[in-house]
């Protein structure tokens, strides 16, 4: 358990086992997307495997996720996504109708995102060897000159912005998978974010860092950035937008909404003098209407994310460890 949860344990697996295995052929594991030079162009390149139960949930399906997730990984490097590939691992016995719904969702998502699905592969594994449909997408995009968006550029003083409210995707998937009726009003936020990023870049602002807070939620995204850039992040608890449905579900289940996955949100580190312009551009975009400033990047407590509480304390926001363990004695 824990190694797939998108928290400290999966980060460890990548850092200590997978990347070292590659030796000289590998790169760094600093972010979800590589920016490489090829034929004189700056290309962004990413790949992502999707294992989702259930495959269909309020607000989307594994098909939407596979397209939007990869589009977003490219967008978080400031790239314009262009081409995607898709590889299916199908479990014997999966209804063809399900597969049809998934591919239709992929097509629709790709069209909406303005990317093309240009190649792919399909394998079938025996019944019991898979879990319906596993889907891997890779994507290529181009990065304009002058765009340098990387976790290590987070700097003290930066405004920390979020494009919308938190926790919808994780709660939507959970409620469908577990058959929990209380949260059926919560739909996934899955969306392609490169248009939003383009609007942010169009302000002329120097975006330091962009990150989609997917697995492990906002807590994982900010802790990774803080660790990479050796900066602190200070949030204001009351500014964190958690919708009632998400808050209720998390309360009942004992989950932390900051650790719940999002699929259509981005967090941005922006120079403070440009934050208002960027926020205005975000709010003017359909996927950024709920954008707001949630905190500040600071020089103190490097590597740590904290939240100022209503009581006047400063709560430490830990890196999720992959499962909910009590710490209180």
């Amino acid at each position: 358990a824990g190694h797939g949860g998108g928290g400290a344990m999966s980060a460890d697996l990548v850092r200590h086992l997978i990347v070292p295995g590659y030796g000289d052929a590998g790169g760094t594991a600093e972010r979800d997307c590589a920016v490489v030079e090829a034929g004189g162009a700056r290309l962004a390149f990413t790949t992502d495997a999707y294992v989702v139960q259930p495959m269909f949930f309020p607000g989307g399906s594994i098909g939407d996720l596979a397209v939007n997730g990869t589009v977003n990984d490219l967008a978080m490097a400031g790239a314009t996504p262009l081409f995607l590939s898709a590889a299916f691992i199908l479990e014997e016995g999966t209804p063809l109708a399900d597969l049809g719904r998934i591919t239709a969702a992929m097509g629709a998502a790709a069209t909406a995102a303005g990317v093309r699905l240009v190649t792919g592969d399909t394998k079938v594994v025996g019944h019991g060897s898979g879990d319906g449909v596993y889907l891997t997408t890779s994507g290529v995009g181009v990065v304009a000159d002058g765009v340098e968006i990387e976790p290590r550029r987070a700097a003290a003083g930066d405004a920390v912005l979020i494009s919308g409210d938190l926790g919808r995707h994780g709660v939507a998937v959970l409620s469908r998978r577990e058959g929990l009726e209380f949260a059926t009003t919560v739909a996934s936020d899955t969306a392609p974010l490169h248009g939003l990023v383009a609007a942010m870049l169009a302000t002329g602002a120097d975006l330091h860092v962009l990150r989609d807070p997917t697995r492990g939620g906002l807590a994982a995204a900010l802790n990774e950035i803080a660790a990479t850039a050796r900066v602190g992040v200070e949030l204001t608890e009351r500014d964190l937008p958690v919708p009632d449905g998400v808050a209720d579900a998390c309360h009942l289940l004992g989950l932390d909404p900051l650790q719940v996955a999002n699929e259509g949100r981005l967090v941005a580190f922006v120079r403070p003098d440009q934050a208002d312009d960027v926020l205005a551009a975000m709010r003017a975009h359909p996927y950024g209407t709920g954008a707001r400033r949630i905190g500040t990047c600071v020089a103190g407590h490097p590597g740590m994310v904290v939240a100022r509480t209503a009581l006047g304390g400063t709560r430490v926001i830990s890196m999720p460890i992959g499962e909910q363990l009590p710490r209180i004695c």
Binding site: L253, G254, L255, G313, T314, V316, L325, P326, R327, C329
Partner: protein
């Protein structure tokens, strides 16, 4: 030998232990001159060396008195050697030879009787001086800024001594010879009271503060290790207001009294409690509250006990007033001046800002507090919180370890540095939820290394992957190795170490607490370990039940009760208090979680079992502070007797709590009062300890049982377990120098890592 002429002898005493910076040399001087002995005393690398010369009886007597030492000294060894008689006259204090290997900072010490007398003496030059101290009393650890311990390396450095203080400081016969915090009205720190736009100083500040307290106001008072928030403990409105402002929930407040007689009127003290109350360490002593003592109910709304301490600084004594002063409260609530979850405030500017919503006025002074140090809390034989008066006293180790630093655990954190056969435990730091607590750990770990002269080469932490103390250690390792030690292994190793068990020894370890990360990824807390320093074997544990949703089930104890009921096969009957307390929507979801394991982790925690039983008995359905349910249940269970609830223990030592839970539920449904349910449950836990210990003795031949973990803060359990185990021939060890809770765990971490 000739009749009528006394023989002369000369003897050398080499004294080791905590003997420097505690007034040992003036003590040696005055004792020698008092007995008419000649000789000399000097600090050495190993402690203090004294040579005395004179008649044999006096030299013999001198040896006896030397072994008692001045009040603050901790003498670990005295070596004697006969010397050639030299015929010297007089007694000299000689320059240090070799320099101390390690200059130990002493703990802060409560005002001594001599200083108290001078404080009250209208003819003396320190009459009513709020900072009176001497070589036997006053601030130490909280004002030390560096090594060696000298005036310049304390926060008193900025107060140049006046001529008269200087003369006392330099006079070997004076009680203030080399007393670093020496001061007087002319040259010492200044008092002031901040009240809105007004500032009052000196005696006016004190009398106004007392008047405010008498009028039911809340005053922030700067003490030795930080600010307190004070109010009249007999004024129900004032106490309720303080509780409201601090958002304190039901957690008890400690109180301070000026004299022991007042203490005896509000609490029931044993002889040992009385010694603790008036001793030099002067902790908060937790005792049964006396009915009719006149304390406001809100002081400790859920507890039959009260925590009492005696005024321990001259400032506190003056705040209560000397004879003839206008009257003020005779019992004050004295609670840590902090925002919930943060460490105690020490800095003056911080105090004004952070306590702005809490205090009506600030009584403060310009002597800086170098490190925060809360009041210590003691109940009977057990230290519940180890801080002022105890830290940074080193704990001796039974074997030598390399220079290392242990980060402790996340609840009630205390860190430690160790080297050779000594471990310096930090004072209580707090729960690692708040940034300021993590920062305090950072500061204190460095400070402790500085004053102990230890440069850690290895770091040691708990195995919990989410502990912030562990994250802190990894982030600050700087290339040094970071070792991890299992939580309950550390609890048991701490007990072994403080009792001096050697490197190869093994014990039957009984580690009962709320939460600790197990080697199987479960949350342990009901562990029977066959443990040595180098390793352990899990010989038994409380059977697993699911803990749903991490900390949610710790705060909402009804969830833990529902989990235990389900595991025991008891239907969720709304006649059971936790079933009724759980909102219906949550009940459905919780049922789903427990069925499917969604966001659940298995736990063997006895702390959580306490929570569950307290909830089923209708005592607490939610808690506002850690251990609340168990504390309240213990309070209720004191008077009643009753037969123990049953367990089912299998061959592998797994104790299924199912039979116990079924019996508790049927008692509750039959209307049995919580007092009896609680008593039967305490008896059951004692039974479990005894049965498990006997199982282990049969299989291993070991007969030493070591008790550790926060559950043993429970006095019924500790005394019961010790008694029952001894009756069956066990040697029983439990924490005496350190808290049984996670505040003692850093010692075990160092011992385990150092033994490997």
């Amino acid at each position: 030998e000739l009749v009528g002429r006394a023989r002369t002898v000369r003897r050398r005493f080499a004294v080791s232990g905590l003997v420097q910076g505690v007034g040992f040399r003036p003590f040696a001087y005055t004792t020698a001159t008092g007995l008419g002995l000649a000789g000399s005393v000097t600090n050495t690398a190993d402690g203090v060396a004294v040579e005395v010369e004179g008649c044999p009886d006096a030299v013999h007597e001198y040896g006896l008195r030397l072994r008692e030492g001045p009040p603050l000294a901790v003498i670990t060894a005295v070596e004697e050697r006969e010397q050639e008689v030299r015929g010297t006259a007089g007694f000299r204090i000689e320059a240090s030879t070799g320099g101390p290997a390690r200059t130990l900072a002493a703990p802060d010490v409560a005002i001594c009787d001599d200083c108290l007398g001078e404080l009250r003496d209208p003819g003396g030059r320190r009459h009513r001086h709020p900072f009176i101290s001497c070589v036997n009393c006053g601030p130490r650890y909280t004002i030390v800024t560096g090594l060696p311990y000298d005036r310049a390396a304390t926060t008193m450095a900025r107060f140049p001594m006046c001529g008269r203080c200087r003369a006392e400081y330099e006079d070997p016969a004076d009680r203030r010879f080399h007393a670093q915090p020496i001061a007087c009205h002319d040259c010492g720190p200044r008092l002031e009271l901040i009240l809105g736009p007004m500032t009052m100083t000196g005696a006016d500040a004190l009398s106004e503060a007392r008047a405010l307290l008498a009028a039911g106001r809340i005053v922030a008072v700067k003490g030795l290790g930080g600010y307190h928030l004070a109010c009249d403990a007999r004024n129900a409105d004032a106490v309720a207001e303080l509780r409201r402002r601090k958002r304190r929930g039901g957690k008890p407040f400690a109180v301070m009294v000026a004299g022991a007689r007042t203490a005896y009127r509000i609490g029931v003290f044993t002889d040992r409690d009385r010694d603790l109350l008036a001793g030099a360490r002067r902790p908060i002593v937790l005792v049964p509250r006396r009915s009719g003592g006149g304390l406001a109910g809100q002081v400790a709304p859920d507890s039959p006990d009260v925590g009492v301490m005696l005024a321990y600084t001259p400032l506190h004594v003056l705040l209560f007033g000397l004879p003839g002063d206008p009257p003020g409260p005779d019992v004050l609530v004295m609670t840590s001046g902090n925002v919930a979850g943060e460490p105690i405030v020490t800095d003056d500017a911080d105090a004004l800002r952070r306590l702005a919503g809490l205090a009506d006025a600030w009584l403060r002074h310009d002597r800086e507090i170098r490190v925060a140090c809360d009041d210590s809390v003691v109940r009977g034989d057990v230290i519940l919180r180890r801080a002022r008066g105890y830290a940074p006293m080193p704990v001796p180790l039974p074997f030598a370890i390399g220079p290392s630093l242990a980060a402790g655990a996340d609840a009630k954190n205390a860190c430690a540095v160790g080297d050779g056969r000594s471990v310096w435990m930090s004072q209580h730091i707090g729960d690692m939820d708040d940034l300021s607590t993590v920062e305090t750990l950072h500061t204190l770990a460095a400070h402790l290394g500085d004053i102990a002269g230890v440069e850690p080469k290895t770091l040691v932490t708990d195995q919990h992957p989410g502990y912030r103390s562990g994250c802190w250690a990894r982030a600050n390792a700087g290339g040094r190795p970071v070792r991890t030690v299992q939580h309950h292994h550390a609890h048991i190793a701490a007990v072994m170490a403080e009792h001096g068990l050697g490197a190869g020894e093994r014990v039957i370890g009984i580690a009962f607490d709320g939460t600790g990360y197990g080697t199987d990824g479960a949350i342990w807390g009901g562990e029977i370990l066959i443990a040595g320093y180098a390793g352990f074997e899990r010989a038994g544990h409380v059977g697993y039940v699911p803990l749903a949703g991490g900390d949610a089930s710790v705060r909402r104890t009804y969830r833990m009760a529902l989990s235990h009921l389900r595991s025991a096969g008891v239907p969720w009957d709304p006649a059971l208090p936790p079933v009724a307390a759980c909102p219906e929507a949550e009940r459905d979801i919780l049922a789903h979680q427990l069925r499917t394991g969604l966001a659940c982790v298995p736990t063997s925690s006895v702390g959580r079992l306490f929570d569950a039983v307290a909830a089923i008995a209708g005592v607490r359905q939610t808690v506002t502070y850690e251990g609340e349910a168990a504390l309240v249940l213990e309070g209720l269970s004191r008077q009643a007797g009753g037969t123990a609830y049953p367990w089912k223990i299998d061959e592998s030592g797994v104790a299924d709590p199912g039979p116990l839970i079924r019996a508790v539920a049927s008692d509750v449904l039959a209307g049995v009062p919580a007092t009896l349910v609680g008593a039967r449950f305490h008896a059951a836990v004692i039974d479990l300890i005894v049965t498990q210990a006997q199982r282990c003795r049969e299989s291993t031949g070991l007969d030493v049982a070591a008790l550790g973990g926060g559950v043993f803060q429970n006095a019924i359990l500790l005394t019961g377990a010790v008694r029952e185990l001894r009756d069956r021939g066990f040697v029983v060890l439990w924490p005496r120098l350190l808290p049984p809770n996670d505040g003692g765990i850093a010692l075990g971490q160092l011992a385990v890592a150092g033994a490997a």
